[in-house]
């Protein structure tokens, strides 16, 4: 069996592992191949772990088993029980523990080598980089989790003007400790200094960020954890870690960019914090404008005579758990010969693609889910656009009002359809705190109330027709 423990064999297994990661991710380019892709990546991970276990001289098996059993006992129930609406915080939590693992490994490496005595510079630099980023990611992700789970208040918490200088100071402090270690310092306090200052940095950066920007932050932290894993790979001379970590870093970067664009926000502005609440009420007083109200039966009649209905779902729909009722409504309409599509804004929900998952859970076929670019041309041919719990992504001010905070944000052109029905709890403004002129359009009628109850009432009316 000695050939199994040959370094070449182990290296080859690592190559097989990262090839499977890449091939698996390629599967994620379409819903049909995605399940298999995810499984292939998981097989790759199993191979990588097996290869590591084969490394000559491995010991401490009972402790390793203890850790693996603990992690499995926590991970499996968490993954099985989590609700689809809670997916963003679950991803944040899983991301956080990954970052935490990186930071812990770096700390122990420091202790085992007595401050990297006799180690080449690239090992100490990569390890310290991993420690810093991993620790930021761990604490930042936990704050993000707390905010999304509503353990912490969602509104921005900050120390005001001092926030930026304080963050910068923490970063400089962490890097300075790192430089001291690379320069030959062996005091463990330096390592603790890195871990503590980066932990504080993680807290300080994420706490001032409002709930609406949280998905961008999670994606950014995901990228950071990936990069820290890649750095650990450089330090440990492990190709599987380097490739896997770097791919995650790249994917996190792409997603962060996409989301920031879709929200009309720059990444530095988000990290600087303070959005999501500070926008303030729009200057135009809504008092003089008329809002037309409608009833469930009128809405049902209007939609049953339509040729094409486009549903525009927002997070409000998910909060009200109205997905299944919406699916029922679509079935009723389809049985009457009405074409029903769903217009999905890139940031509908709490993370990109979140709305698609929520609708998929309600058995909506994915062909009916249309991305923004695909559906925007369709609105002019649409008889009824049904907006459920979405606000800012439908606001025409993004096109027309240069003074609006959301000016320039890509939106769904709901106002081009022949008529609009908006399901809303009340007239309160959305995340950006901006009034929506769509609601005062003569073609718009409002159906006030809980989204699930309203949609269920519409379903009843449709059945009675």
């Amino acid at each position: 069996m000695s050939w199994l423990q040959d370094p070449v064999t182990i290296q080859c297994l690592y190559i097989v592992a990262f090839a499977l990661f890449i091939y698996g991710l390629m599967g994620l380019t379409g819903p049909r191949t995605a399940v298999r892709g995810n499984m292939l990546a998981a097989v790759g991970m199993a191979i990588a772990i097996l290869a590591t276990a084969l490394t000559p001289g491995m010991g401490n098996w009972w402790l390793i088993l203890l850790g693996v059993v603990l992690g499995t006992a926590i991970g499996i129930p968490a993954a099985r029980k989590v609700k689809m609406t809670a997916m963003p915080q679950m991803v944040a939590l899983f991301n956080g523990v990954g970052g935490g693992a990186v930071a812990l490994v770096a700390w122990v490496e420091f202790r085992q080598t007595h401050g990297f005595a006799g180690e080449p510079a690239h090992v100490s630099i990569a390890t310290l980089f991993a420690a810093l980023i991993g620790s930021v990611s761990f604490w930042g992700s936990n704050v993000a989790f707390g905010k999304l789970q509503e353990i912490l208040p969602g509104r921005p918490i900050s120390v005001g003007r001092l926030q930026q200088p304080l963050n910068l100071l923490l970063l400089v402090l962490g890097v300075a400790c790192g430089v001291a270690v690379v320069a030959g310092g062996t005091s463990e306090w330096l390592m603790i200094g890195i871990l503590v200052s980066s932990a504080l940095l993680g807290l300080m950066v994420v706490l001032p960020i409002g709930g609406a920007d949280m998905p961008v932050v999670i994606s950014l932290l995901n990228a950071l954890t990936g990069l820290s894993a890649a750095a650990t790979g450089i330090a440990l001379d492990n190709t599987a870690l380097i490739v896997a970590g770097m791919i995650v870093g790249a994917s996190g970067t792409i997603l962060t960019n996409l989301m920031a664009k879709a929200m009309n926000r720059s990444i530095p502005a988000i990290v600087a914090g303070g959005f999501g609440g500070t926008g303030g009420p729009s200057s135009s007083g809504p008092t003089d404008k008329i809002v037309r109200q409608t009833s469930a039966s009128d809405a049902a009649i209007q939609m049953s005579y339509a040729r094409q209905v486009v549903v525009v779902p927002g997070y409000g729909m998910a909060v009200a758990q109205a997905q299944h009722a919406v699916r029922e409504m679509a079935k009723e309409l389809e049985s009457k010969g009405v074409a029903v599509y769903y217009a999905i804004h890139p940031v509908a929900g709490r993370m990109p693609g979140h709305m698609n998952v929520l609708l998929a859970e309600a058995d909506v076929p994915y062909e009916h889910l249309k991305e923004m670019d695909e559906i925007n041309g369709e609105f002019s041919r649409t008889d009824v656009a049904l907006v459920i719990g979405a606000n800012d992504v439908t606001n025409p001010a993004a096109h027309t009002d240069p003074g609006s905070p959301i000016y320039g944000m890509p939106i769904l052109n709901v106002n081009e359809s022949k008529s609009v029905i908006v399901l809303k709890r009340s007239m309160s403004p959305g995340f950006a705190g901006v009034d929506n002129d769509l609601y005062y359009d003569p073609r718009t009628s409002m159906l006030f109330g809980d989204a699930k109850k309203s949609v269920s009432a519409v379903v009843e009316e449709l059945r009675a027709l």
Binding site: M45, I76, V91, A101, V108, S228, T232, L236, P365
Partner: protein
Amino acid sequence: MLVQNLAILVLAGFVGFAVISKVPNTLHTPLMSGTNAIHGIVLLGALIVLGLGATGTLDQILLVIAIAFGTINVVGGFLVTDRMLGMFKAKEPRE
């Protein structure tokens, strides 16, 4: 080894960009949780450091925690991604 590893790092970055750019919006949430599971590979780092004879009680405790963290990341991440992807259905069964 360092230069080779850096080369691998850069190439992996480009591969990552190329592959991930092709993933449609529809699948971005599963993509995020899937790549999240992949960076759980830091588990390997913890395994190597503990397996190759880390001594001292504190160090061993820290590494057991790191292994537990990494395992949560890997096992939880892949499972939850699988659960999500299983929900994407093409056509409803005709009744």
